[in-house]
Symmetry: D3
Subunit: 287 residues, 6 copies
């Protein structure tokens, strides 16, 4: 895991931050701001009420600077690092009106992304020392996929495909429609692009055996028992599939993930990383 | 509570659904779709793996019809009603390619919104028979505020302000900047629009007493103990503030909410409704 | 009235200014600009051909700086203040090509907004010394609502609701559909959000009497005679409605507004402020 | 004049109508709509409170159909025709909620455009029988230029250039920068596109004489006295400029326009057509 | 090769078609359309002046139906098939004004995409019978990448990566920055996502030998002589790299491509497919 | 020809550059960038592999500065000038990651626009010394019309109309629909705007004779033989049409263009300038 993952360029973050700000500003802007003198500056720090993994600082910075281009934003604990409770993560110095207006947008983004990173880090921690990586899914928040997948990386996870266009992932419905695993894989090889990876979901050891000769990049073992996962690993590694990656999927929780990793699979995909991570409770405290 | 809340017009939902679809389609669209015959139709039903409150059916319909305008979508359990586990919520009949391509977008929206509605319904259920209503906050997902606030209504909750522009909400920083509760309220009355509501956050009974004579529409009692909440209710109802609504805020959980409601407050605001609701696990099953 | 009203953040103005500039630039940009040397700078001043109330300086600044980020823009008479005829309101120093290209967009916005502010100031002046405030309506220019409502504030007016979502305003058709004033107000109270204000339009003293017990925030007295307005004020103030605000509407002109205000109503709404204000004739004069 | 001018395609109108609707709907949509039963339909007619020239019916139709695609919209008095007071212009049959929600947007567009058409028709009527046409300017509402110029055509007027890119219009500042009328025209001929028209503004008969030999398509006579206009016409027609069109500009009002037209100029440009036309007072009456 | 490649969903095509139409319509729409009677319908056929491979019919259909939703559009020679010269490819029946207005947009898209498909088909034909596939590059027209890559598929080509985010492609600058081929590949494996393919560009047989042990998905042989290409194939197939795909790049033309393919490489990438394909000369002929 | 044509304002270029960048960045951004150290800077130069006319430098600058606002960009050979092969056109100094990420977008735009300029310059050179100008058409790349027309100017060409709204161009279908050339021109004069130019396409000397008395601004001689072009010039110049411009169209190539120009026509329109110009092969070389 890279503690400090490659950040997304501002160009990709700005439309999201802008949409979020405009959603909060509405038509008339912050009607409470008039209670604060226009010249007042405010110095404040972001801190979490409980320990967690940080993600999303650039969003907070962009939200504040969208309203006050002169705002200073100093990062103390960067994305991908662990923040203890009640410890400054970043410090900001800005016009008070701009800061109070941007505060909720900045926090909404940071709390959600840090929540995703924190839950991911918990899963990654639970499999420490084992070869399996924790990967995310497409069960992300509409409009925030790139940001949430970045947060997964901040948590030490690894990204699965980004959408419907960057990998062929053959699921049960496709298998049924194509007339079996072999037929589906044969057709996938025929239509795929020069670099398009191919993954197939299998529900049984029989389907696994059918898939291995086609050398897909990844085989997803969906809802396998621990015993069957072990058998699947043995079956695949034994023969021609040594270089195929195996991904366990389904029924994964913080309680079960280590046992799954111990079966020897290469990756474990967890939808909850993005669809059910509670927000990390970060606040902005005036100093 | 209205079991079947007024739906948002498609005109407001379409940009969100479209953004979500395009995010999943990427540049090249669904590269796995080619495994399914172009003419095949699919009939499938949405059902939840556990009981929950439904919200977001229109989003699912729009996602599917964006790819297949001829798709039929029949609602069996409408938004705002309770869905038992493993029971069809809606049935769809569409081109198989379109349905498989739109499936994840439809589910991502429905699962999140139904998750919000389900958590809200739990809070609303916890205070049943008491006058207090459950209200949401601005701690929503960037880009989805209107949809999540609608989901809160589906759960029986009541919406707080939609953003920074439709109510003056005087928080501690504003009070500090304005020089006290009285000064802040006086200025708020002077600058507010014809219909702009005014709410003030107070941290103590002293601040409450200072606020009452200005007759704000709502006073938020932030992090009050149960005893202080009771005293606040008594103080406000006794005097000139009989028509002021009191909102309890801070430290609210499913364990504590009934005791808070029993103090006699009019409303209890709960950020977790939108920032930490786990997704409801809805799937789409071919029939 | 605040002489210098809280400005809208640039973030809300920029899309409007950008749209206006692109509309004027078309596909090919300013084809006359080539007649001016690329290096030439121009110093010019905005001034009105007749006295009026200023509004919209930020729009002019943004239009010019969109084409020349180095342009200097000095405000001499700010938004919300009165500009005598032929007196510099603001001074600009910019690349000549950029200034000539942006000139019409800057003026179109400033002339319109100052026109609204000037007409509003005339109405506000006409009721000077009386308690009634002048409020605007939703009869605004498509795309410019936030700016025109800001211009109303520059003129000393007070903003009515911003749109269909920030207040319940029960009109005659709603009353008819709901089965009477009482039924409509009862339903409004049941479905309204935590902070949503409620206003009802009444056409007669009978309807007024029916509305008062429901304590809406505002009652609009539509097309009442002066005598009936006086009776309405007496009736409302006498009883339980002391805190309800009364808004007179219909048939308001600069000739009639003072007599209306003298009846004791709290507010007078005037659609003409935004739908029929003549532009203030501001020009940009090279110095 | 064409009584029924070529309509703008819906593709150009839809973005404007959509922007206007979204501006009114805000985040939450029409919160008063819940007072009306979802199934109720409403039949209503557009009618003006005073006689005027109709423009903008397509906008009204698009606004209503954006919320109720099944709405019927029957035109009785088309764009470009005169509507007597209190006479149905169009009749609509739609879901009541959709109609009440779209009503203000539909009216805001129709009232403004019909206001422009009505004022234009007054100017056109004032010069009846004379060869001069009434032309508009770029002093239009930001975002509405194409619609307002269409409204001018509905009023019998003729459109001037649409923006900075479809004609070279050499104004006083350009003349100054280029070093005189002749130099400016020489340079314009050198840089202009294959079809780009050239117009030059002159302030005196001397400048006019300087311009004629370059055969610009149009010469604008800015703020000329009636006597000088007559001299300008004679001077131009006498010599090589017989085919040059002459446009009078400045100081034009309904009182002065006929005298100006009688000087023999080809066109009279009037900024007030679009920057100061009062809205036509059209309403929507339930039937 | 699939003769009839999976079409892009209309949802991805519509924004491009709409942008193209609005670019042609400008502010005022088709000012020549008024010369045609509004009720006239026109029946016409698309046909090419020379033989070519068809691509982009859906764009033509969408352009016409955007202006006339009732237009009929019948496909005679589908995307991916060969059209002889002067033979109807598709037939359209629409309102004459709409068809004449949309004609140029429809043709601009079809001619360009069919040009790309035709050139691709020429390259594919030149390597017929050999295992090498023809792949495209990122040298596409800004805004049209997905459409041009679809056109490549229509021509029988295979798509390379869609952009910077769906594959790691290590070029010479990356190799230099990372400190050599081995170091770059080691780092790529460490940071890549679960399914991210890895390709590396090598300039020499030495670099190739350095790359093979890291088993990238593809190795690009940049500007290799034919002899070196043969040696590269032998070196790679001989050892551990049997499953690595080899891509030849640089100096490819219709004259050289067959010889390159005969070296045994798996793929040949050709930038000219998209950056220099002449348009296919398709016209729309009234019938 | 102006060697250094008036540049388009950044405001018009930015949306195109941004769209192109986002298309290349996709959802996740440049996943190869992580191989380069975040702090590394790179100095590089744009140079063409063959001699050509430069166009589009501002696009390259904007693409790079969108990712690194601090990037320095020095122009050595400006738009509209000739670049020898292998000679630095511009030099850039930027963060290495930003530069490598923006490189393809910058080049895609510059190569295409310089390709258009280079082909245009070839046509312009071929008619050197003759009065005919080379004009473009509407056969441009969707989304890039303004940029490609600017590139034509960089090549010494002259722009034809920009779209359907800035000139009436009567084509054969319009003539047929209107009932002949005379009828079409009569109607065009009646409906045209104050400054709208009128051009008519004629297919024969008879049609030409019919058109001359209506004095359109331009007559397009479509697919005339050289003999007929000469006759057309004589016929038009002899009589009342001395000031009408004649445009030859159809069958124009670098081989035929000089002979066409020698017939005495004023303009020759060439669709290939924009629809079939091969890209100029510009690269970015690290220094």
């Amino acid at each position: 895991m890279s503690v400090f993952p490659e950040p997304l360029p501002d160009l990709l973050l700005e439309p999201v931050v802008r949409l979020a700000l405009l959603e909060d500003l509405g038509r008339a802007g912050d009607v409470t701001a008039a209670l604060v003198d226009a010249e007042t500056r405010l110095r404040a720090a972001f801190a979490s009420r409980r320990a967690g993994r940080v993600a999303g600082l650039a969003c907070a910075r962009l939200a504040i600077q969208a309203l006050d281009p002169t705002a200073a934003f100093e990062i103390l604990i960067p994305d991908g690092a662990d923040a203890p409770a009640h410890t400054p993560i970043a410090r900001v110095d800005a016009r008070a009106r701009a800061l109070l207006t941007a505060e909720r947008t900045a926090l909404n983004l940071m709390c959600r992304l840090s929540g995703v990173a924190t839950l991911t880090a918990a899963y990654v921690g639970a499999v420490e020392g084992l070869p399996a990586v924790i990967v995310d899914t497409r069960k992300t928040t509409p409009g925030l996929r790139a940001l949430e997948k970045y947060a997964v990386r901040c948590g030490g996870g690894v990204n699965h495909r980004y959408g419907l266009d960057d990998a062929i992932l053959i699921k049960d419905n496709h298998v049924a429609a194509a007339g079996g695993v072999a037929a589906a894989l044969r057709r996938a090889k025929a239509v795929k692009g020069h670099l398009t990876p191919v993954e197939v979901e299998v529900d049984s050891l029989d389907q696994l055996a059918e898939a291995i000769p086609f050398h897909p990049d990844v085989i997803m073992l969906d809802n396998f028992t621990l015993d069957d996962l072990r058998r699947a690993v043995a079956l695949t590694r034994a023969g021609a599939g040594a270089s195929i990656r195996l991904e366990a999927s389904g029924g994964v929780s913080l309680q079960t993930v280590r046992a799954i990793a111990e079966t020897g699979v290469d990756a474990i995909s967890v939808g909850a990383l993005t669809h059910s991570a509670p927000a990390l409770d970060i606040g902005l405290d005036a100093e």
